[in-house]
Assembly symmetry: C4
Homo-oligomer: 199 residues x 4
């Protein structure tokens, strides 16, 4: 099965998710700087989630670039990932509205954890589809960043119930880990291009 529509649909859903989050930034009635201040936590949570959804798009893009064959199971693994990503506008809004309180911060972590788990399942599904995807297998390697993220999210969920600001710091730290693009896949692709041109 071709991956064109698979990518197009994922792009569409991720583009909508990243954009409708801004609808949580409700336009205030007054026209002074003070009227904007209550929106600050919502704005900060918007930035965090924008970066996270951007990371997912980026990694999804790289992963699919190294993929050739997509199975029916992968289609559903992808929809499963999109489901958790689609909840990010809600959990982001709740966390922002409640000024990063304990429970909303923990729920945000649950959402990130489930999305990371869904991404891992999708990766597994793509890798085992067929031999065509050996390039992806090589590129992913032991997936240290993916496993580390899951552990950090789980830690943050527990920490959030006591020290929500520490959990926020963990979310920012995980985002920074991923902001560094997935050089593993890039390296393997460059190697492959080198082999093909005889270098």
């Amino acid at each position: 099965m071709g991956k064109g529509r698979f990518e197009a649909f994922s792009d569409g859903v991720i583009a909508i998710i990243i954009t409708i989050m801004v609808l949580e930034l409700k336009v205030p009635h007054g026209g002074n700087i003070e009227d904007l201040l209550p929106l600050l936590p919502v704005f900060l949570s918007y930035i965090l989630s924008f970066v996270y959804v951007g990371i997912y798009w980026n990694n999804h893009h790289h992963m699919l670039h190294a993929t050739h064959t997509i199975s029916a199971a992968s289609l559903w693994a992808n929809l499963h990932l999109l489901f958790w990503l689609s909840l990010i506008p809600f959990t982001t809004g709740w966390m922002g509205e409640n000024h990063f309180a304990q429970i909303p911060t923990a729920l945000y972590g649950v959402n990130l954890f489930m999305a990371a788990l869904a991404y891992w399942i999708l990766q597994m599904s793509l890798m085992k589809t067929s031999k065509d995807n050996h390039l992806l297998r090589k590129a992913i390697g032991n997936d240290f960043k993916g496993k580390l993220s899951l552990v950090l999210y789980a830690t943050a969920i527990i920490v959030a119930c006591y020290l929500p600001m520490v959990a926020q710091a963990i979310y920012v730290a995980v985002a920074l880990i991923w902001l560094i693009p997935d050089r593993r896949i890039e390296h393997v692709l460059i190697e492959k291009a080198g082999e093909q041109t005889g270098h």
Copy 2:
């Protein structure tokens, strides 16, 4: 007529439908777990509809994959399908808000029934367009799952007026029937690929 823009437009509309449904999950003001509880039925109905829209995208994807020629009538049959799918966020929200009460559950069934009917009309339209689509005809076969779904939806609409939870169980059952991907089309495509490579 090419099918590229046909698929792209359908993907766009389905991607928006599946994503704006989450806007019905209104962010609650309080920051405790109790504040989330009233959202549970809306969340459950969101999951059900997410799966249904995902099934439609999946089957649409498979059906178009086996299609070569698209007539003007098929364009309108497709818009007709998208019309009924576009109402799913509304009927889902109404069902969730009213905790799966009789009438909203029945209306949800009407929506699913009409979408299934529209899908069937689109399938008919694509199959009779030209000889190029004989592959699709072969793949669809007697369309047992399609016919069964229509009967089950009709049953659920009637049952919903008395025992809405039984109707919900039927909706879940139909979703499970379809979650199994349309192997008929996959089989025929694999056969065809086999013929072409001489196996």
Copy 3:
């Protein structure tokens, strides 16, 4: 300039317009059929606008299919068309909320008139871009349907101030005129395909 991104962007905007209109169908609190009744005019206006936006997508699709070269002026003519289409959710909602009253019905007509004018400008712009588009010129011909629609919309705007239901009938009539796909373009394309294969 290639037309791929031009089509993709137009598809995206039109897909969003056709889908966010459903957000005007606000989920009612009660769970009975009576609670749905006040939504009936909004629903009827939704159907009308869904058909209109569908017609625009369809015709846009056909027109671009017969186009080869897109000038910078055409990009702006297209954005101008998308601007008027983007207002349809607003004018539709206003007309539905006010049960097809005079002024909202007239404003809806103004919106349709401006969109039709913008479509005509885009068509002109595409036709005069270069000799490559002679196929489109031939296909459009004297554009009788386009001119007739403009006259009918103008009539409906005036009539709406006195007899809004007659104006509604005109809107439905124009939609029916266009529901018949643009066979002119299809004929010319079929002719061209015939020439190329030597028939």
Copy 4:
């Protein structure tokens, strides 16, 4: 890395931004012309922002057309641009709701300034990616319009605090400067096409 998905994702996000702005035009309850009057400033700010987002799409389209290689850094520079564009519906709504008052007008300028800066960063990032993009480097030249816009936005932000209407005039003037499509890139592309065909 291919630019197909890069363009598709950008198109999706920009298409959603340009369309959800219309949701700020809340449907009024009354059905008379007087009921529309309070919406006039929101409508005017909608037109201004529609044109600005249209300009960004147009220039993005031209810039990518002259680009061959996209680095990982460019992906993030692009998401950074989309972030600032995604805030335009919010700042537009705030400016319209407050009838072009000082602070909202200044904030709108800050948003335009940051988007222009992000566009400039993306341009830099694309230009230095590799030798393949020399065409883009040649096309952009000294980027007089880009630099002038940044100066004008900065001026407008300061002016807005005293004479908001003068700031509005500056925003309209910058839009007009850009409405003239980026002929620099077009010229270079035409030149290149000429060279290839031996003219």
